[in-house]
Symmetry: D2
Subunit: 143 residues, 4 copies
């Protein structure tokens, strides 16, 4: 197994600097685990995410998936601040419980230009996915 | 041309009640126009949406697209509070300017079970789209 | 583990009748394995699938993924001839080798109206996926 | 209006050479119109495309959309034989009639690395789309 290019602590420092509008002390986001080509992120439950019918909002899940994918890309290729999402496709599968969300990302490809991954989102403590995402990041050319 | 099932004022009242976590006085969202099978929504620029490199965050655009699609569905079939997104696919095309975003939704199909639409997101005052979205809503069976 | 609703032999018989334009003696398709909520299908290599640069065509992979998803749906809910694809999203990851393709489908959700699954496509004998697909089938209401 | 980089006749010659497994005398494909950033392609009706319930197969529509997107890319950037699809997302909207299919592609972005477009597929003579596609092509670096 290849070691990750950045560990959890390095990722947290990098993201708190480069991505501070989204990743900050009140965001409720915790990077739980990374390896080469994977990452797991927890989004703490927050009543402001809730929508009619008691479900957690779709945009909350989309933002979590996009962030987890970015963490996995950084863990794999190192600190690249200007990698950007080019495509994200999400299928909403089940109504999430009123609990933390866990996002697990696995990269399917890490090429020179593009990284493609899938993210499964679960309600903490439950087995069945609440959403499934595939996303593509464009990787800037290294100078 | 078929008239919309709800006009802008009716939509605003419905959404302020049913969707108040997302659509409220501070959200910066304005429904600009609706017709049968279409809607246009403005997201006022807000510095908290900004990301490294000066771009507006992907999740801001995903949330706007999802909301605009919901407005178009309501404008077409009337007040259905439990319609839910089942799929959303977004392509990020260009870096948005530091301006309001405009989302224009056109429904491609409104069936008994599913509504499918596309949403084009523009930076206010510019011609080229910054993002393009297709999304599917599941429509609950009417009792 | 729940048993599949149809085994490989029953699926082959059903598909040879109901889906004979696609699944027939010359199609090179073999259902290798099914279980509740999963299926694996082999597409025998055929020179007519090849494209410039020696790669197997995208439509060959899309058709294989769609078929494998249909097999998994049938294996899970039994013979439903009018289930139809409503959405299919494919990411092409690597140039396939000049070999058989193997498609592995796992259903993420089997609801009353919709089934959602993912399909990984591999070149026979290789570890890394050549394509990844998510797809949604609409399931007709049972009378 | 910018002129296309290749006209219909030039495209037909290029594709008959470079893409002969798919574009040939028996394929039933006709490039009807191109401009900078758009293309329209007709797929002649053929009984072998038909599926249970009388509908034209999904893979036929996916292949047509992918081809039309490729034609639009070539018409815009000129003869680039190794442009490849990286992502294709299709929503199936209505059962096609037993008629020719018409695919209309509009490119949303033509960058240095990626081209993104949307394709609307219609049954000839009907107004409502039978399918809607977005696709991304990766453009090889010019030497």
């Amino acid at each position: 197994m290849q070691a990750p290019a950045m560990n959890v602590e390095q990722l947290e420092q990098f993201l708190a600097l480069e991505f501070s509008q989204f990743f900050h002390a009140q965001s409720g986001l915790a990077i739980e685990q990374v390896s080469h080509a994977s990452a797991r992120v927890r989004q703490t439950y927050n009543a402001q995410f809730v929508r009619p019918g008691g479900t957690i909002s779709g945009p909350t899940m989309m933002a979590l998936a996009d962030f987890t994918m970015y963490v996995a890309v950084l863990a794999t290729i190192g600190p690249v601040p200007l990698a950007v999402t080019t495509n994200l496709n999400i299928n909403f599968l089940r109504k999430p419980a009123g609990r933390d969300l866990i996002a697990e990302c696995r990269l399917l490809k890490v090429g020179k230009r593009l990284a493609v991954g899938e993210v499964t989102i679960l309600s903490d403590g439950q087995d069945e996915a609440v959403a499934h995402v595939t996303a593509t990041y464009s990787i800037p050319r290294q100078s």
